[in-house]
Structures are given as structure tokens and as C-alpha cells.
């Protein structure tokens, strides 16, 4: 399935909880904020927002990464634009 992941860079404090849970999807950049990756790759360069194709298992892990963020800076949407997290 296709999902959209967005990191609110104004909120992100670089706590790296998302990176610990889902390192193939999140990586801290030099501004100490989390970039969004597509399976450890960054096609078209670094980005705070990205649409990626994931399995159900990958989705659940990405949501766990988003849930782990102490400032709830990670937003996850399904293909239709419905917000999956924060719920």
C-alpha cells in the first residue's frame, strides 16, 4: 500500500525515537531533525515528507515510530489522505 509520511520540522527536537524504531524510514539530518526515507534511500534528496510503498508490517512499525515521538512530530496518512497517526 502507499502511505504519506510527514515530519513537522518545527516540532521535531531530534529525540530520535522514530529513528530507533524505524531506521529504514527516519534518519536525523544535520539540523538535528528527522528526514523521511524510502527504505533507507532518499530519492530526489532529503525530505521531511515522502510517499512510499509499504507492507502492512512496515506500516505498523512506522506508526510505532510515530507513536514513540515525544512531540508527536510524525504524521502518517493513507493513500486517500486519511490521517492514520496521530489518531
Amino acid at each position: 500500500m502507499k502511505i504519506k509520511i510527514k515530519v513537522d520540522a518545527d516540532l521535531c527536537i531530534g529525540a530520535a525515537a522514530c529513528v530507533v524504531v524505524a531506521p529504514e524510514t527516519f534518519q536525523l539530518n544535520n539540523d538535528n531533525k528527522a528526514d523521511v526515507l524510502d527504505h533507507s534511500e532518499a530519492p530526489n534528496g532529503p525530505a521531511y515528507e515522502r510517499e512510499i510503498e509499504v507492507t502492512e508490517e512496515e506500516l505498523q512499525n512506522i506508526i510505532l515510530g510515530a507513536e514513540s515521538c515525544p512531540v508527536l512530530a510524525v504524521f502518517v496518512y493513507d493513500e486517500a489522505g486519511k490521517q492514520l497517526f496521530p489518531r
Binding site: D10, V20, D31, P70
Partner: protein, 411 residues
């Protein structure tokens, strides 16, 4: 001297029925009590419920509110998020997940031989497994006046916002302390264009961890941002009759209508002295969150956890560590043998300057500290070694080194 939350016995004098009627035998009717409703305790409960729909879970929480993010409080104070957004759970979440939530209560005593805890309202709750996730209390000044503010609980944030709303502009405010919370006060006060004086006992911020160059880098950055900095200033007294008007230190006095105090945190462990638990600075646990007593686990800010990367038992004191320790305790309660092996990290941005602590930065535990960069270069990295292995690092304005150092500490 520390500040504690409300004792709920006063608020809730009528004991209600015990959530647990009788002690269970097997895993399926296992009764698990979690002391503390912060991130560690709640993450533990959530993971337990994910793994088992059958275990009985109760959270005894001193605070009256559902779980909220302390990390979001500065964002709330600066008006970046609404107050309701700081809550990570609502009141219905506990019942929806079949978790008994006992807000506004403290555990007064643990009887590990007979496996029960005694609450402040007189109730005795039996347990098969007990998780202590009690958190920390803020150290307080020896005196108080209206205008003195702390920043740890949601009530503190509400109080501070009230004080801020009452002040005219321009207005002089003060910060006393040299750690993370003092930094948050500086950021918040700057957001409101207050004239800020910051005073601390040591030569700089985090003086037990940072070297002279790192400290000076932070001090100069504050001065460049029009903050008046008073290093090596010991608090003497508050000035003012009914309301704060200033602070007397042994170095210099300064006027302020609000004083943000951030002089450290202490684990809430004094009540555990006769519990049979091995207690040092916190409750000593191994990397599996197990204490010296069978069936009792400790996590989060009350736990002195064995750090597998440094070989040192220490209070990790970060949100992320507390959360993951909660999950690991839950997995191990249900029979797994998971290990907490995260390299802890703590990050802070002080008026645009990034400060990052990775892993174990205890100077007394390390046998060598190497320094890269300098004040002149605008960034300083310290790398802490034990037996020639990197165990921790501090990075001031050197974010780009984070991944390399993290990998080095992970080994």
C-alpha cells in the same frame, strides 16, 4: 528539598474496591501493578496489552491527568501547540484497553514477601509482577514567593503561563540553574521578549559534564543573544514581600518578576528504603529491567539501569529511554529475555545552538575524554572513553558528528 505532586489520600478519602479480587497463578490471569503513569509506566502497560489480552494491569498514578508529554510543555507555553495536544492519552484510553487506571494515588509501601502494595488510601493490592516507574521530583529552592516557577509537571506549565500573562513588556525575568530545564526557561522567556538574567553555581551549563571550551561556547552564545549570564553565582535568597522582585546571589543581585528554577531532578525513591530493593541513586536494575527482588521491575527515571555500552549502572533520564525500558519490561514480564541496548541521547536547542549528549557522559566513570573542535571553530565535541572504547559524547554545534559517534559508541 524536592517538590512532589498531590497526595491523593486527601483528595480521595473514600477507598474504592480493589481492582484485583484475588491473586492469580498463571500468566493468563497474571496481575501486574505499575507504579507511575508517566511515559515509562504507560508504555509498559500499552506493550503488555499488545502482547496479552488476558493479563490484568493496573497503573497507580500520582498525577490526576492521563499521560501527557513533558517534552511538549515548552511548545504549549510558547503557543506552538494547544494545551489539549500535550496529552498523549485521553481518559477513555485506559478503560478501552482494559487497564485499571488509579489516578491521584501513591504507593506507600511494597511488601515483596507477601506480594502486595499499600496505597495512600489504605487499599492493599496484590500483585504477581510489580513495575516501579515512579519518575523524578524537581529540586526546589529553600524558599518560595509568587513569581517563582518550576517546569516539570503540567501544573507547573499552567502556573508559568499565568505568571507570564500577568507581566508587562518589557519585563526582567531570571533563570536559576545550568541544565536542561534552565535552557527551556531561557527559550520560553526569549519567546516573550523578556529581559533575561541566568545565574548558575558552576562555571557554565552542565558543568559536571562539559569542558571549559564547551561551557564557554554556550555562555558566549547566550551573551550574544542579549542574555545576562552570571556564572558561579550561588543562590542566597529571594527578594520581595508578597511577590518576587529579585534574587540575591553571592555574586550579584538581579531584579526579576519571574524566576524560572531548574536546579535538577531527584528520583522519587525515599519511600523505598525498607523495601528490600537494592537502591543507589535510583533502583538498581540489570539490562532486562529486573531488580534484585523476584517479580519486581524498575524503569524510567527511578531506575539505575545497566548500560551495556559503558558497563555502568546509571539513571538514563530521557523520554525515549524511559519509553523503551517500559516496553522491554513488559516483554520480559511475559517471558521474553529482551535487553535494553539503546545508546541514549538527549538533545537541546538553546536559542539556535544545538547541544547533544550521547550515551554515558559521566566524567567519573570515563577514564579518558578526548576533545575535538574549539571555541574559535564554533563547535566542540567531547568523546568519553572507558578502556579505550567510546561510551559517550557531547556535541555543541556539531550535529554532523552525531551519526559517526553513535556508531562508535554502539561498537
Amino acid at each position: 528539598m524536592t517538590r512532589q505532586g498531590n497526595n491523593c489520600f486527601r483528595d480521595n478519602p473514600t477507598p474504592s474496591p480493589s481492582p484485583f479480587v484475588a491473586k492469580g497463578e498463571g500468566k493468563h490471569d497474571m496481575k501486574i501493578i505499575i507504579i507511575g503513569g508517566g511515559i515509562a509506566g504507560t508504555a509498559c502497560a500499552e506493550e503488555l496489552r499488545k502482547l496479552s489480552s488476558e493479563v490484568e494491569i493496573a497503573i497507580v498514578s500520582e498525577e490526576h491527568t492521563p499521560l501527557y508529554s513533558r517534552i511538549l510543555l515548552p511548545f504549549y507555553l510558547k503557543g506552538k501547540v494547544e494545551r489539549e495536544r500535550v496529552f498523549l492519552k485521553d481518559e477513555n484510553w485506559y478503560a478501552e484497553n482494559n487497564i485499571e487506571w488509579l489516578p491521584g494515588l501513591r504507593v506507600e509501601k511494597i511488601d515483596h514477601k507477601n506480594s502486595f502494595v499499600e496505597l495512600t488510601d489504605g487499599r492493599e493490592l496484590p500483585f504477581d509482577k510489580l513495575v516501579i516507574a515512579g519518575g523524578r521530583d524537581t529540586r526546589a529552592l529553600p524558599e518560595d514567593l509568587r513569581g517563582v516557577a518550576y517546569l516539570w509537571m503540567l501544573d507547573d506549565a499552567d502556573h508559568l503561563l499565568q505568571l507570564i500573562s500577568e507581566q508587562p513588556r518589557p519585563c526582567a525575568v531570571g533563570v536559576y540553574g545550568g541544565g536542561l530545564i534552565a535552557c527551556e526557561f531561557i527559550n520560553i522567556f526569549q519567546n516573550f521578549n523578556f529581559e533575561i538574567t541566568v545565574a548558575f553555581r558552576g562555571p557554565g551549563f552542565w558543568s559536571r559534564v562539559l569542558d571549559k571550551e564547551s561551557s564557554e561556547l554556550i555562555n558566549r552564545h547566550l551573551i550574544k543573544n542579549n542574555i545576562k549570564v552570571l556564572p558561579e553565582a550561588k543562590f542566597i535568597s529571594l527578594q520581595g514581600e508578597k511577590e518576587l522582585s529579585g534574587v540575591e546571589t553571592d555574586k550579584e543581585n538581579f531584579a526579576c518578576k519571574i524566576l524560572g528554577v531548574g536546579i535538577g531532578l531527584e528520583p522519587d525513591i525515599s519511600w523505598l528504603q525498607d523495601s528490600g530493593l537494592n537502591v543507589g541513586k535510583g533502583i538498581k536494575v540489570n539490562e532486562k529491567m529486573k531488580t534484585n527482588l523476584p517479580n519486581i521491575f524498575a524503569i524510567g527515571d527511578t531506575a539505575e539501569v545497566f548500560d551495556v555500552h559503558s558497563g555502568h549502572q546509571r539513571i538514563m533520564g530521557t523520554w525515549t529511554a524511559a519509553q523503551f525500558q517500559g516496553r522491554i519490561a513488559a516483554q520480559n514480564i511475559l517471558g521474553q529475555e529482551e535487553v535494553f541496548d539503546q545508546v541514549t541521547s538527549s538533545t537541546m536547542n538553546i536559542l539556535g545552538l544545538d547541544v547533544i549528549f550521547l550515551g554515558d557522559t559521566d566524567r567519573e566513570w570515563a577514564d579518558e575524554v578526548k576533545v575535538e573542535g574549539s571555541l574559535e571553530e564554533g563547535g566542540v565535541v567531547q568523546i568519553f572513553y572507558k578502556k579505550q572504547k567510546a561510551i559517550g559524547a557531547t556535541l555543541i554545534n556539531r550535529n554532523s558528528e552525531r551519526a559517526r559517534l553513535l556508531a562508535e559508541i554502539k561498537g
